[in-house]
């Protein structure tokens, strides 16, 4: 992670996009979030997008947390509330915040539900979490090409991209972590690159390549990289000669429980038949 600090600004387009999106979502929610925390502050992308956006008036103060002191050190401006913290061991008192934001960072955690539970505890009742994580279709072209190249060139292929969450799992994870009204939605972004190696360079700059290089421990050989590039180009090349890289961004929103929130009724507790409400005769479905 530390190694990524020097080259981050060149490759933070996804983070900037996610930050803009979250600021926009906040502006559409008609309430104030006096105390907010950004758990993946990096060099302050969300802070910048937030204060530029219509949502700026809804937030009084933003605590910026990141695991990397080098990244935080790049954030400019006095009076910022910065702290080095681990999303898996948050240093925040219970019920501290009205809003928690985490952008493209929670997929790094070993225990996603555990991290979500800690975030929920740090939120005040009825506090909001908005988190963006990479979804399962992220880098699908790269993963397929790498797997094939490794199988051909070396004696075995191993997974080299972090396991990403599934959009359907995501809302369930929030629920398991005790969030109310969990919602997840998916945004797919296709980025075009001149060459697969430029994609690899970009991933390295984003810090995502360490997830690529982590297992197996030995680095990718030149031969595997070269073969991967060929396969990638053969299988996925676009009409303009460039290659696509899919990024799937899953946005999770959930609220810390509060008595005022609507709750689902118990099954069987209905006081009226659906058929009556619709004004149609009731038809029993054949069991199959």
């Amino acid at each position: 992670m530390e190694r990524a600090a020097a080259s981050f600004p060149a490759a933070d387009f996804l983070k900037a996009r996610a930050a803009e999106d979250v600021a926009w979502r906040l502006s559409a929610i008609l309430r104030r979030f006096p105390r907010a925390v950004d758990l993946s502050a990096r060099s302050g992308v969300f802070s910048q997008k937030l204060w530029e956006s219509a949502a700026a008036a809804q937030v009084d103060e933003l605590v910026e947390a990141d695991l990397s002191p080098a990244m935080l050190g790049r954030a400019e401006g006095g009076g910022r509330l910065r702290v080095v913290a681990d999303e898996e061991r948050l240093p925040f008192a219970a019920q501290s915040f009205d809003l928690a934001v985490s952008l493209l960072s929670l997929h790094w955690t070993n225990d996603l539900v555990g991290a979500l539970v800690q975030i929920r505890r740090a939120l005040k009742p009825d506090g909001l979490l908005i988190a963006t994580i990479f979804g399962g279709a992220t880098l699908t072209e790269l993963r397929q090409s790498l797997l094939q190249a490794e199988a051909e060139v070396s004696d075995g292929a191993g997974p080299r991209v972090s396991p990403f969450a599934d959009a359907l799992d995501a809302a369930g994870l929030l629920q398991r972590a005790g969030f109310a009204l969990p919602v997840s939605d998916v945004d797919r972004i296709t980025v075009r690159y001149d060459h697969p190696l430029k994609l690899m360079a970009d991933l390295r700059a984003m810090g995502e390549a360490s997830a690529l290089a982590d297992r197996p421990r030995r680095p990718l050989s030149r031969r595997v990289l070269a073969r991967m590039s060929d396969i990638y180009a053969e299988r996925f090349r676009l009409e303009d000669g460039r290659i696509p890289a899919t990024f799937e961004l899953i946005t999770l929103t959930g609220w810390a429980p509060h008595a005022s929130q609507p709750k689902a009724l118990m099954p069987g507790s209905a006081k009226m038949r659906v058929a009556d409400a619709l004004g149609v005769p009731e038809q029993l479905l054949a069991r199959g």
């Binding site: 002191p69 009076g79 910065r82 080095v84 061991r89 925040f92 008192a93 219970a94």
Partner: protein, 65 residues
């Protein structure tokens, strides 16, 4: 947010208000001189570097007394 009049090496009281020890979730003591946030419960002193508290147990100093 308006720029704070605090010195760059001081921790903003608004931040101190919400911080607890990440290992024990207990309150911290602010040692201005030593630039540390002390968790008696965990026996750890978290360093403050350039005004930024580093709330990682592996970066903390173990208290000897």
């Amino acid at each position: 947010m308006s720029p704070s009049p605090l010195k760059a090496t001081e921790v903003d009281p608004r931040l101190l208000e919400v911080l607890v020890c990440p290992a024990t979730h207990t309150p911290l003591e602010y040692d201005r001189e030593a630039k540390e946030l002390i968790s008696r419960a965990a026996g750890l002193a978290y360093p403050i570097r350039d005004g930024v508290p580093v709330m990682l147990p592996e970066e903390a100093r173990t208290l000897t007394d």
